[in-house]
Symmetry: C2
Subunit: 233 residues, 2 copies
C-alpha cells in the first residue's frame, strides 16, 4: 500500500528516503502560494534558487527576479513575495527566478526525490487528485520558518493526509498529528492561525490581505512540477 | 516575560539557544518514565550515556547497567527499559548507567543548557511547579523516535504549555500545535495514542502494560536534574 509521511522541517529531510517518493513542497506564507498563482496566470517557468545572489544575476538573462528575505522584498529584485504581484498579464509567458527564506530552500533539499510538486491551499484539490492517481508513496515537506516547525504548513500537510486517508496510510506520527490539527482548524483556518508566529510577523508587515488569500482552497487547478531543476506545469 | 518553546526532535536542537533556558527532556515511552520511577524508588543517581559500549563498561565500576536499543533490552545489561523493573528495593541507593535509543541521546544534546531536568507524565505536576517558580525561559525537548517527531512526547510538551499558559508565552508555533493536540487528547490519552507508531511498536513487544503506566499523571513527586553529567534528585 502507498503511504504518506510528513517532514515537518527541511532540517529533518536527511531522515527520509525520498528516491521512490513524490515530494510535495509547501510554504503557504507565501512562496508556494505565489508560485501556484503565477502559473495560474500563465508564467512559463519558475527556477527556484536557494542562494540570493545566484537568483539576482538571472535578471541579466531575461528572467524576472522574485522573492524575499525575512518576509520583505529583496532590494533590486523585480518582484516580492505577495501572490497579488503574480496576477497580471505582464508575467504571461515569462521566466521567473525565485528565492525565499524558506520555500526555495525546501525545494533545494527535495531534489533527490522521485518527483517534486508544489502544493498550497490554492491548488489543494489538484495536488490531492494527482497523489491519489499516482503510484508513489508521498512525503509532504513543510518549509517551516528557518528550520522551525510552523502551523500553516503543518495544517496544509494535515489537509492532504485527511483527504487521502482512505487511500494512503500514515508512516509515522507526524501525519497523525497534522491531520488532528487540520480537523480542529479547518472550519476557521484564519482564526486558528491568528496566534501563530508567522501571521504575527505578516501583520507587522501589513500584509494581512496576503494571509487571507493564501488560505483560500482550490482557487487554481495548476500543478507545478520540478523538471531538471525548473518548475513547469 | 519568561517564554516556552518546544524542540520536537533532537535533530532540531541546533536551532535553539539554550544557554539561558531550563530544558525539560522527555521520552515518555519509556526512558524518562523509567528514570522518574527509579528516583521515586530511591536510586542514588543515573548517569545517561549516548554510547552503548561506554554504558556497558560501567558495570565493572559497580553501576547497574540499564537501557534498550530499538525497544529491546541490551544483551548483557542488568535491566531493560520497563518502569516496572525500577520499582523494587534492590535499586535503592544504587547508581545506574542508562542508555536508550532516543532519550539519552536527547539528554546528551541538551547539555549546553542552563539546566536540564527530566519530565514524564509520572512527574508532570512537579515539573510544572518547578518551571513556574523558576526564573528561566523553558525549552521542552522531545526525544522522538530516531530523529522523527512522535505523538507521546509532543503531548507531554503540550501538557506543560497548557498548564503554564497563564505564565509563559509561546515562542513559536510548536507550543501552539502541541497545546492544541494535548487539549484534544487529554481526556483519553491511551485511545488518542492507539494509532501512533511507537504504541504499535510497543504492542508488538508485548509491553502494553508499560504504555498504560507511562501515561499516568503525577504518580511521583521527584524532579531529576542533571549535575555535572549525572542525574540526581
Amino acid at each position: 500500500m502507498k503511504t504518506i509521511d510528513i517532514c515537518l522541517s527541511p532540517e529533518l529531510m536527511h531522515l527520509y528516503d525520498v528516491k521512490d517518493r513524490t515530494v510535495v513542497v509547501v510554504d503557504i506564507l507565501r512562496a508556494t502560494s505565489c508560485m501556484v498563482t503565477a502559473f495560474a496566470h500563465g508564467v512559463h517557468s519558475i527556477t527556484p534558487f536557494a542562494d540570493l545572489e545566484q537568483c539576482r544575476v538571472m535578471h541579466e538573462k531575461g528572467y524576472i527576479t522574485s522573492g524575499e528575505r525575512n518576509g520583505e522584498k529583496v532590494p533590486g529584485f523585480d518582484k516580492g513575495n505577495s501572490p497579488f504581484e503574480y496576477m497580471n498579464d505582464e508575467i504571461k509567458g515569462q521566466r521567473l527566478a525565485f528565492t525565499t527564506t524558506n520555500g526555495t530552500q525546501a525545494i533545494e533539499k527535495a531534489k533527490g526525490a522521485r518527483e517534486v510538486i508544489i502544493g498550497s491551499f490554492l491548488n489543494l484539490s489538484t495536488v490531492v487528485k494527482y497523489l491519489l492517481l499516482g503510484e508513489n508513496s508521498v512525503l509532504v515537506v513543510c518549509a517551516g520558518w528557518k528550520g522551525r516547525v510552523n502551523l500553516e504548513d503543518t495544517l496544509f500537510a494535515g489537509a492532504v493526509v485527511e483527504k487521502l486517508k482512505d487511500y494512503l496510510g500514515p508512516d509515522c506520527d507526524a501525519p497523525l498529528a497534522a491531520r488532528h490539527l487540520y480537523t480542529l482548524a479547518k472550519d476557521n483556518l484564519a482564526a486558528f492561525l491568528g496566534e501563530s508566529s508567522h501571521v504575527k510577523r505578516l501583520n507587522r508587515l501589513n500584509i494581512y490581505r496576503d494571509f487571507e488569500f493564501c488560505l483560500k482552497h482550490n482557487e487554481y487547478a495548476v500543478l507545478p512540477r520540478l523538471r531538471n531543476g525548473v518548475l513547469v506545469v
